[in-house]
Symmetry: C3
C-alpha cells in the first residue's frame, strides 16, 4: 500500500473538466440540428412562377448538414411550392392549365366574404399545396437535371413574400 497504488486508481479516471466536457461534446455531435430561414421574393400578380432553387441550396449550404430534408413552405393561402423544368414555355402552360381548375372571370363565393377578387388564387393554392419536402445527400438537394424548385404566387396583386426554408438532418 502507499501512494503508488492510490495514484494508480486515480489515473484511470484522471480527466480535467475540460477534457471531460470535450469528450461528451465529441460523442454528442451526432445530434440532428434544425435550421429555419426565411427567403424573400417579390412576385407579380396572377400566377407568377419564381425559381427558388438557389435560395434553398444556399440555406442548405449555410447549415453545414450533409443528409436530410429541406422543407419549403409558404405561410399564406394564395401560393404554392412544387418543382418544374423552369423554362419560358412552361411558364405559360402552367397558368393556362390552372384556368381549367379554377378559372378567372367566374364568380367565387369567397368574393362575397371579404369583397376580394382572388377566389381562384385560393382554390389553386389549396389544390397544389403550401409546400414540398426535398431530400438532400452529400449536402446537395436531390433534384433532376431539369428540375427546379418553384414558388407559384396565384394572388391577383403583386406581393412581397416571405417563404420558409427549413433544413433538418445530420
Amino acid at each position: 500500500m502507499g501512494y503508488i497504488k492510490i495514484l494508480n486508481l486515480i489515473k484511470v479516471q484522471y480527466l480535467t473538466k475540460e477534457t471531460f466536457k470535450n469528450k461528451i461534446k465529441q460523442k454528442t455531435k451526432i445530434k440532428m440540428p434544425v435550421i429555419t430561414k426565411t427567403i424573400s421574393v417579390e412576385t407579380k400578380k396572377d400566377t407568377d412562377l419564381i425559381d427558388i432553387t438557389n435560395h434553398v441550396s444556399a440555406v442548405l449550404k449555410s447549415s453545414g448538414l450533409a443528409q436530410g430534408i429541406a422543407t419549403v413552405f409558404v405561410p399564406g393561402a394564395t401560393g404554392s411550392v412544387s418543382t418544374i423544368e423552369y423554362e419560358p414555355g412552361l411558364l405559360k402552360d402552367i397558368p393556362e392549365a390552372l384556368e381549367r381548375i379554377a378559372p378567372s372571370g367566374i364568380n367565387y363565393e369567397h368574393h362575397k366574404t371579404w369583397g376580394d377578387d382572388n377566389g381562384k388564387s385560393h382554390v389553386r393554392a389549396t389544390f397544389l399545396g403550401p409546400g414540398i419536402v426535398v431530400p438532400f445527400i452529400n449536402s446537395q438537394l436531390i433534384l433532376g437535371t431539369w428540375q427546379q424548385i418553384v414558388f407559384m404566387d396565384f394572388d391577383t396583386k403583386a406581393r412581397k413574400r416571405k417563404l420558409i426554408v427549413q433544413v433538418m438532418g445530420e
Copy 2:
C-alpha cells in the same frame, strides 16, 4: 508529497455519480425526438372540409419541441390534407372546383371493381395528396394569418377518421 498532492489530483475530477449523470443528460438533451399522435374527426359525406389547425397545435404543444416539422397525414385513400383560408365562401368554392377535376355523376372504372360509388373521391385524394408537412419554430406552426390546416374528406358517405399528426425536431 503527501495527501495534499493526491487530493489536488482528485479535486479536478471530483464529481458524484449524480452530478456525472446530470452533466451527460444536460449535454444530450439536444436529441431530436419524434412524437406521433392520432386525432379523431367526424366528417359528412361529399367533400367535407374540417379545420384541424388547433388539433395540430395541441400535439405540437404537448411535445415540448421548439423547432422542426409537423407531418399531418390521412391513412386512407379518399381524403387529403392541405391549407386554406377557412371561411364559408371557400368551403363552397373548393367542392365546385373539384367537380372540374373529378365530376360527380359520371362513370368511374373504380365502381366496377367493388360496386363502390366513390371513384371521384379516390381521384380527388390522389390528386391533392394524403398529407402535408408544416414547419414550426418557437413552438409555433409557421402559418399565415389567414391560413389554416384543413382535412378534406371526399368520400361519399359520412366517416369517422383517425388522422396522424407527427412532430419531429428539437
Copy 3:
C-alpha cells in the same frame, strides 16, 4: 485521516475509461439517423402508375428505425408520387381525370422550347407534386388498409427511373 478517507473520495468517481465511454454511448444512442436509398422502376409511356409500397417498406425495414418519416421523391420533372387504392379501375380513372387538367393533343408552349411533346407530362407533375412524406411508427408505414404509395410517370416515352426513399427518425 489516511488512505481510507482518500479511497472513499475516489470511490464515488471510480469508473474505468471503458465504463465511462459506454455510459456516454448509452446516453447518446438517442441520435436520429437518416438513411437515403434509391429504388429503380421501369415505366411505360403516358401516365403509368407503379405501386412502390413494398420498396418503401423494405428501405424502412433495412434502416432499423422505429418512428419517423419516409420521404419518397422523384428527381425529375415529369413524374409524381402520391397514394392510391391500387386497383385496375383507378389505374384507368386517374389518366382520364388528368386529361381534364392537362389534355393530350393540344398545343403546349413547352414543345416550342425543345421540340418536345411532353408538355402535358410537365404540367401534371407540377400540379401533383414531386414527392410525399409518410409517417411510420413501430417500424411500419402508417397507411390505410386500401392505400398504397404510387409513383406516376407522366412522360410520353418509357423510362427507367431512380426514385429516392429517405427515412429519418429514431
